[in-house]
């Protein structure tokens, strides 16, 4: 067992605290695990130390990314601080000395050569050292731009290091050709070194943390967001599929078919060894989705269309409608097209959204839905409305909506606006909520997941939404 050096415990605790402040959820038990792991891993080996810490506290790829950043920042700072305390010259003095020696030996040419060599050898520590030298060398030539990417570019160009495929025509294509991976490794070192300097210069993490922020906000665009929506819907499907039978002990709650059990007990001399059950009728939800595609929700309609798209992938019995002023069924479009962009295009152009003025007319939509479709609504149907309930001053016709909701088993409303804005201006959300089993704000994938949870658990939170009836039905 290798004991941690003094002060290390505090450092690690401080590090975990830093991680927590970056929204990585770390439990006390995980910190204990980290210490137990560090007891049996030699802390002198940097890679093992880091990995052991990472595996116990960072439990998702995103957490790991934050972990790497914070790890570098934290322990780099810690060493700097310690160095300052221990030597009067300070850490910079030590480093300056090092590069002083190197500076004399290494001109720009030689530096590039040395880096090339280190890259070819794959020597991480040499690369790290050389990355620092390179930054320093370029720092003397010109002022740092303050943007890591720009500095990287400049240094890389100055050193003339490029992948073999590109440099084959170059005049300086001397030495062994380097492949992309190896160069990428050096660049990682270089980038890290530059980031470190920037972090210490500014005394904080770079403000832009695109990863954690991009993930969350709407409007949704691009394939990745689509994937997130699909994920949430897939989850919903799974939860709906297993809904209704108590997951703990699938046989529990099944009813015994007495007649068939008696019949089969004849084989075993009248002892009912084989129980026969009544077949369970699987729950097949029929879903009707009405999606507002008018201009007032244009930023969210991409999101909603992708929700629709994902729903179509998951549910067989799904009919979807888009509406602005009038309603039109687009089930067929989704069934014919697989590609999301094609669908979006079709719906907005030829999808036949009957649109005269471009303003939503909810009253008319409900009337049309009631006459055209509601005959099909039954005790198994769920109606989901995606819209902002902004009527542009037209009558909301909530009584018609009430009749629709009444025919359907469950009715949910997803509103792309934050709950704060409901009922302001021409939003008539409150006219509809009494007839919905649940009304939710939905402008992030998280909200969608929340909705999935609520729907799948069969419970509707009374606090945030007005629940007219409690249709948890067969459960609880």
């Amino acid at each position: 067992m290798s004991d941690l050096p003094s002060g290390m415990t505090e450092q690690i605790l401080a590090f975990c605290e830093a991680l927590r402040s970056e929204e990585v959820a770390i439990g006390t038990s995980e910190i204990q695990d980290a210490f137990r792991a560090l007891e049996i891993v030699p802390w002198t080996s940097p890679v093992d130390f880091k990995e052991a810490l990472a595996t116990t506290v960072a439990k998702s790829p995103r957490d790991r990314e934050v972990f790497d950043l914070v790890f570098d920042r934290h322990f780099f700072r810690a060493t700097e601080e310690a160095a300052l305390e221990h030597s009067p010259e300070g850490a910079d003095g030590h480093r300056a000395k090092l590069s002083e020696g190197a500076r004399e030996e290494l001109g720009m040419e030689a530096l590039a050569e040395a880096i090339r060599q280190a890259i070819a050898d794959g020597d991480e520590s040499a690369m790290n050292e050389l990355a620092r030298l390179a930054i320093e060398a370029f720092g003397r030539q010109s002022e740092s731009s303050g943007v890591v990417g720009v500095d990287m570019q400049r240094i890389r160009r100055g050193l003339g290091i490029s992948p073999s495929s590109d440099s084959s025509g170059d005049a300086e294509g001397e030495g062994e050709p380097l492949d992309r991976d190896q160069i990428a490794r050096f660049e990682r070192q270089l980038r890290r070194e530059l980031q470190r300097q920037q972090i210490t210069r500014q005394g904080q993490l770079p403000p832009a943390r695109p990863l954690s922020d991009l993930n969350r906000s709407l409007p949704m665009r691009g394939a990745q967001d689509l994937a997130a929506v699909h994920k949430a819907v897939a989850q919903m499907k799974r939860r709906l599929a297993t809904l209704g039978h108590d997951p703990r002990g699938a046989k529990r709650g099944r009813t015994v078919d007495v007649r068939r059990t008696m019949r089969s007990s004849l084989e075993t001399g009248g002892v009912p060894l084989n129980l026969r059950y009544r077949p369970r009728r699987p729950r097949k939800p029929e879903i009707y989705v009405l999606c507002d595609v008018s201009t007032s929700v244009s930023s969210a309609s991409t999101f909603f269309l992708s929700v629709l798209h994902a729903l179509h992938d998951s549910f067989r019995k799904l009919r979807s409608f888009v509406f602005i002023e009038r309603i039109s069924e687009v089930t067929q479009v989704f069934e014919d097209e697989r590609d999301f962009t094609a669908i979006a295009e079709k719906i907005t152009s030829t999808g036949g959204v009957a649109d005269v003025s471009g303003y939503t007319d909810y009253g008319r939509v409900w009337n049309e839905f009631l006459t055209d479709v509601s005959a099909d609504l039954g005790p198994r149907s769920t109606v989901i409305v995606l819209g902002d309930a902004r009527t542009n001053g037209r009558p909301p016709a909530e009584d018609v909506f009430a009749r629709v909701a009444d025919r359907a088993n469950r009715t949910f409303w997803l509103n792309p606006e934050p709950e704060l804005y409901w009922n302001y201006g021409d939003s008539v959300m409150s006219a509809y909520t009494p007839f919905c089993d649940g009304a939710f704000e939905c402008w992030k994938t998280e909200h969608l997941e929340q909705f999935v949870d609520v729907v799948a658990s069969g419970k509707v939170e009374a606090g945030q939404s007005t629940a007219r009836k409690y249709t948890s039905g067969h459960r609880y």
Binding site: A25, V41, A234
Partner: protein, 296 residues
């Protein structure tokens, strides 16, 4: 804990070597985490894209440690009767009948304690892993396919290595199993579960490692060809595919190329063997359009 009975590895390097002998090339973090899992007795949660060798890691650990592999494949609607244990109630009924008929006077009813014993228990994988007198490797595959309720049920098992059966009490592990949970990340696992595990993210390996892996599994392949193969696979993975080719598929492709007697991947061989690495209609079109012209 029965840690003393088992010969625990001394260092991550030792684990890496043992895994290497079991035909699994572990990188540093994989070896380190496998080592920690054995030393600390904690489960490993392995996540990553499909086909990077998550399940294979469990198999390799089982081979490397000489332990039996107990596997629980998860699916939607998996319940404890299929994962933990079930009462063999036919046997119980027969027992009741047999006892009743021997006691002709019918004075004593059957003692209920007699029919709720280990004898009447049907062991399912998790129970099997716990009750096994020999230490095992327990693989809970694709945990993300189950419901959250099932995850919650696993918590007792994962933190204390015990199972509570209401009629019999707690059954604790006699030996300490190595537990691996794999997930394709198709849904977010609960914090409670993650908290109990060591986390390992497996990704596609870098170029050198993938070449090594391919040569390990298809030793006949020429080094240059393996390199070329990995380059092409890399190109394909960069596209936005429904199902990017995994390591398993690279290996299959290498074997196919050997069978075809190809010594280079040109347009013709690529087209002919494309279906080995691409498993989706739309992906096929995309690859044909984007990659084939670049083969030259």
């Amino acid at each position: 804990m029965a840690a003393t009975l088992q010969n625990l590895p001394e260092s991550p390097a030792e684990v890496a070597e043992a895994l290497g002998d079991a035909a699994y090339l572990a990188d540093d973090s994989t070896a380190l985490i496998s080592y920690l899992a054995q030393r600390l007795g904690k489960p490993i949660l392995v996540e990553g894209p499909a086909g990077v060798g998550k399940t294979e890691l469990a198999k390799a650990l089982s081979r490397a440690t000489g332990r039996e592999l107990v596997r629980l494949q998860c699916y939607e609607g998996l319940d404890e009767a299929k994962a933990l244990y079930e009462w063999n109630y036919r046997k119980q009924l027969l027992q009741i009948q047999a006892t009743a008929s021997t006691k002709e006077d019918g004075s004593d009813p059957v003692n209920m304690g007699e029919i709720f014993t280990a004898e009447f228990l049907l062991e399912r994988p998790l129970m099997k892993a716990i009750a096994n007198p020999e230490p095992v490797v327990l693989l809970i595959d694709e945990i993300d396919k189950t419901d959250q309720e099932f995850e919650a049920m696993l918590l007792e098992l994962l933190s204390d290595f015990q199972i509570t059966i209401p009629e019999m009490g707690r059954i604790g592990a006699t030996t300490h199993p190595i537990v691996l949970l794999t997930s394709n990340n198709s849904r977010e696992l609960t914090e409670a579960l993650k908290r109990r595990c060591l986390y390992l993210w497996l990704d596609y390996p870098n170029r050198e490692r993938e070449i090594e892996i391919i040569r390990l599994h298809a030793p006949e392949i020429d080094v240059a060809l393996a390199g070329r193969l990995v380059d092409v696979i890399d190109m394909v993975r960069e596209l936005d595919l429904k199902k990017p080719p995994s390591i398993a598929e690279s290996i299959d492709w290498a074997r196919t190329l050997i069978l075809m007697g190809a010594d280079d991947i040109d347009e013709k061989t690529f087209r002919e063997s494309l279906s080995i690495i691409i498993k989706h209609r739309t992906d096929l079109d995309l690859v044909a359009e984007k990659i084939v012209p670049r083969l030259g």
